[in-house]
Each structure stands twice: as structure tokens, then as C-alpha cells.
Amino acid sequence: MRLREYEAKQLFKESGISIPPGMVIKCAEEVFGIKNFPCTLKTQVLTGGRGKAGGIKFADNANDAYAKAQDIFKLKVKGDLPTAILVEPKVTIKKELYVSILIDRAYRGPIIMASAEGGVEIESSNSIQIVPIPEGNYSSYLGRKMATQLGLSGADVLKFGDIVNKLWNVYTKFDCDLVEINPLIVDGDNNYVALDGKVTINEDALGRQPRFDGMLSEHLTDLGEREFKGKMCGLNIVELEGNIGILCNGAGLTMATMDLVFHHGGKPSNFLDVGGGASKDHVARALDLVASSETVKVLLVNILGGITDCVEVANALKYYKDIRPEAKMVVRLVGNNEAAAADVMKAAGIETTNILDDAVSKAVAIAG
């Protein structure tokens, strides 16, 4: 769950990292409470690229800010409309840096990533330095080590190290996948200040992070409609651009099925992994969800029953056939309880095939 800038900064502040004295406004009229001009107005959306999209503006006075806030509240960034704007006084920037903590897959542990050049295009930068955290045992020297790798010296080593110490506290305390300050600036008084921040809470950890209770649904504004609904009922669905609705079990098999649709010349409308051990109702919800897109011309169901009971799936298909007899379905259903499921399917008049390639090419033919 990615937090909005102002939410991330609140966590930074609580852990002792300096942030600009900001104000979160929920409507444009609140700008008349701003005390310090010039100021920066930043749209609080979850997607990247808000600056390029015009979501960050500077204002010299209240009237100026009012007009600009009105604009920003109307501006969609990659489909995401803000519910808040963060207003901060303009700060003096002597230097911009970048620093983050995240888990590195290959290293199998957390690393500190940083650069002496802060800014937006950090991922493709050559100036990135890495300090791995040995066996996840953090100690203050690691932040200082990074500081020296960045070429900092003297008091800056201690100041930068202090920021990393505090960032580590945020990272562990809230089970974060990522904590990032970008840019981390050195202001006119040589203080290190987090000018922008990104925090991603691991979604699997939300159940033990009561602070974020109930916050997930309003932090999914970057998802499409089917993706949002799927998430809410525990279905892994990813929007794609084709017309073949895919319903499958297991991530790898779903990906393989999706690839196979392309391979046979078709285009999937979605990726949907119904998960392991799905009940009839769960499969039925998945069918409804996949079919809810108008572009879907055919449903391709590929289930390999391991934990999943094929009969549950068959009953869901039967139910769906009853309520939407006109819907086109291609079904491949093998594995656990396969024979009993075949009986259900036969009684419901749904054709099946055992061969995956056959099922896919049939679906592609129907979709046209």
C-alpha cells in the first residue's frame, strides 16, 4: 500500500526526520489560511509523474494559490484525481540527494540505496550507491558508510547518517516494502530535510499494522475498476487490453495461459488468478468480475485442480450458465474430482476440453 506524500511525511516527522512545515488542504478555499508565501502546491495522488502532469505549482500570494489549487483539484494524473493538496513554503535548496531502504531480492535482505544527485529520474541514474544491511542487522555505521560512499564528509556524514537511522526505524516499525526520500535536501541552514517521500507498506503486513486499518481501499486509486473490485474480494486481477476474459488458478498457470492466448493470436482482456481451493461462490464472483468488462467476448476458464475441487468450479460455471445463457465460455477443467465435475458440466450443457492448447485456440477463434 503506497502512502500519499503527506502521509509518508507524517511517519517521517514522527520518527524525527525534518520535513517542511506543510499544510494539507482538502478544498481550494483553504489556501486563504496559508501564512508563508511563496509556497508550493502539490497534488496528493498515488501515481508517479505528477510534476510533468502539472500537479505541482508555485504560488506567490493567496489569490494566485487559490487559482492554482482549483486547477490542481480538477487535474487527473494518470486517471487519479486528488482529494488533497499539500502546501509547503518554498525552501532554499543547497543540495539534493536521494536515499531509500528496500529489500533487494538477489541479496535476500534490505539495502540502503542512495545518490548524491536527488531528483526524479533516480532509477536510471548511474550515481546510485548501495550499502547492504548485513543479515538485516542495522547499526548506525551503515548510514554513515553510505554517506562516505556518496562523497559526504565531516558533519554531513553525521547528519546524513542520522536520517538513515530514522528511515530504518520507519522501515522496520511499519513493515515497509520501501521507504524513500527524494529529494532529501540540504537547506539554507545546512539541515537535511525530506522534501518528498514515498512509503509503501507491505500489504501482507496490514493485518499487524493497526495504524493503517481501513486505509487500503482509499489507497488503490491507481487501480482500474475490475482490479479494485477484485482486490476487495480477494481476487488477483490485472487489466489487459484484449477481449478474451481469463479465469485461471495459480499465478504461473494464469500467466502461461495469458501467454498462450497471445501465442495463438488472441488478446486477453485480463489476468485473473482465482487462487487455490476456491469455492463455488468465489469462482462465481470471479466469473462475474471478468465478464463485467464490455470488451470481453469470450470467457476462457483454465483450472487445474490441486487444492481446488473441480466440482466447485463446475457448479460455479453451471450457475453462471443459468444466469447468463448467452455468454460464451471455453472451459478446461482437469485434476482433483475431474470426473464428477465432468458430469456437472455435461448436465449443464457446457463443453469442455482437456487439452490446454485446444481450449486456447478455440477461445481465440470465438473472440475473432
Binding site: R105, A106, R108, N202, V238, A251, G252, M255, L260, F271
Partner: protein, 292 residues
């Protein structure tokens, strides 16, 4: 005859009194796995499917001689359960649990490494040596015994391939479901190492997917160390970047983790790459024909 597990492996099930644990303990027993006991703290003294339940892994190990543990406990308890098994010096641990927090997984694998314990998973289907031993949630009937080693990040896709092989009359030595999380224990390299050393494995199928660089690293390893033929497959070649495809680990981040990069790496290492699951079976058949 196999890698990691065989007919002599003595298995305990951590979380045996829970829904998943109970169901799959029974399925494993039915398959022929030597389930010698279970562990659920606070429920020691019971019996489940005829095997004793203990309060601690140490106790279970002392009384049963177990040398393998399968973990089915809920995600927030999985780290503690796995550390308990490591501390009890269980040499092979399979964590089936899905949804383990990555920071927990990091701690788990750091300790396992320090103690020289092999951990399979988390979020994996487990391991099967057909006809001998099944740990985890693989549907056992889908595989037949044979001489192909199977390594896969995905559960159902492994079953798909096992089934395809069986339908073609080809069996496997062992299938290792390494799991779909970003941070896992026994990985592709470790599995390759084991299959290379196994005299009853002739050929290795390596089923990868998008996300991370494990396949690229495995390709380097194959080039350097693996003499047996390897057939590869990458799921998710048409996945859009930046989207998590079901598995926590299956995501293309920036330009990292693409199927293209993995396929190239495989090919550069002399690994034949199948484009579809059925093509894997075809390639295996050809290889076997050449060898025969």
C-alpha cells in the same frame, strides 16, 4: 533416486490442527509420506489422523526422529514456527504458508543460512518425489516416477507440466516447487546443484517467470556448473510492466525482470526455451529420443 526427500524422509507438520494442515497431512499420508507427527503449541497430546501432536518441534523431533518439517501455520506465525524448526536442527523445512511478510522472510532465510538448514518456500507448493514422498500441497496423482528433475516458481504450472509429462508416459525424479515470493530459500541454483548431483536425474526442467533476476543468475550457474540438459520456460512473457501478476515476486520493475532478458540468458547458457507448456513436453520427448 531423487533429491531432498525420499521414502525414508520422516515428516512433521507444523500447524497440523489447522484447516490446511489437517487436510494436507491426510493427503500426504494417503500418498505414502511418512508423517510421524504434528506440532501445534497448546494442543500437544492430541492425535490427528493417527499421529501424535506435540507442543514443540524439539519435543516432536526427539520423540519421532523427524528430519523434515512442513509448515502450514498462518503468515504472522510462520517466522516463529520456522525459527523453531531451525533451532531444533530439522535439516529440511518447507514453508507452504502464503502471505508471509517479506521482512519476516529475510529473518528466516538469514538464520537458515547461518545454521545450514534448507528452507523451501515460503508460499510454495512443496516438494514431491513421485511414488515415495510428498511434502506440501502438490496433487500427487498428477506425477509419475521417472528421471526428469522439475524446478518451478509456480504451483499449478508445475502440475500442468507434471500432468503433460505423465500423459506422454514420462516421469519425474523430484519436483521442487520453489515458490513465488521475492525472498525464498531453496532457489533455482540450489535445486540445479542437487539435480546435477543426483544420479537418477537425466534432464532438468526449469520453469521460471517474470520478476527478479533469479533466472539470469541460474543461467550463469548452468553455464558454469550444469552438465545435464536443461529445458527452460518463462511464464509471463506478455505481462505488462509494473503489475504484480499474482505472485508477490512476479513483477517487472523498470526494465528488470522481463521474460526477454530471462529467455536470452537461458539461451546463452545452452538452455532450450519452450514457448508454451506443451512445447516443454515436446522438447523433453525429443531429448529422450536422442538419448535413447
Amino acid at each position: 533416486m531423487s533429491v531432498l526427500i525420499n521414502k525414508d524422509t520422516k515428516v512433521i507438520v507444523q500447524g497440523i490442527t489447522g484447516g490446511m494442515g489437517k487436510t494436507h497431512a491426510a493427503l500426504m499420508q494417503k500418498y505414502g509420506t511418512k508423517i510421524v507427527g504434528g506440532v501445534t503449541p497448546g494442543k500437544g497430546g492430541q492425535e490427528i489422523n493417527g499421529v501424535p501432536v506435540f507442543d514443540s518441534v524439539t519435543e516432536a523431533k526427539q520423540k519421532t526422529g523427524a528430519n523434515c518439517s512442513v509448515i502450514f501455520v498462518p503468515p504472522y506465525l510462520a517466522l516463529d514456527a520456522a525459527l523453531e524448526a531451525i533451532d531444533a536442527e530439522i535439516p529440511l523445512i518447507s514453508v507452504i504458508t502464503e502471505g508471509m511478510v517479506p521482512q519476516d522472510a529475510v529473518k528466516l532465510h538469514a538464520r537458515a543460512k547461518a545454521k545450514g538448514v534448507l528452507v523451501n518456500g515460503p508460499n510454495c507448493p512443496g516438494i514431491i518425489t513421485p511414488g515415495e514422498c510428498l511434502i506440501g500441497i502438490h496433487p500427487g496423482s498428477i506425477y509419475m516416477p521417472g528421471r526428469i528433475g522439475l524446478i518451478s516458481r509456480s504451483g499449478t504450472l508445475t502440475y500442468e507440466i507434471g500432468l503433460g509429462l505423465k500423459q506422454a508416459g514420462i516421469g519425474i525424479s523430484t519436483a521442487v516447487g520453489i515458490g513465488g515470493d521475492p525472498i525464498i530459500g531453496i532457489d533455482q541454483i540450489k535445486s540445479l546443484e542437487l539435480f546435477e548431483a543426483d544420479k537418477d536425474t537425466d534432464l532438468i526442467i526449469l520453469v521460471g517467470e517474470i520478476g527478479g533476476t533469479a533466472e539470469e543468475d541460474a543461467a550463469e550457474y548452468i553455464k558454469a556448473k550444469i552438465k545435464k540438459p536443461v529445458i527452460g520456460y518463462i511464464a509471463g512473457r506478455t505481462a505488462p510492466p509494473g503489475k504484480r501478476m499474482g505472485h508477490a515476486g512476479a513483477i517487472i520493475s523498470g526494465n528488470k525482470g522481463t521474460a526477454e532478458s530471462k529467455t536470452k540468458a537461458f539461451e546463452a547458457a545452452g538452455v532450450q526455451v519452450a514457448k508454451t507448456p506443451s512445447e516443454i513436453i515436446e522438447l523433453v520427448k525429443k531429448r529422450i529420443a536422442v538419448a535413447a
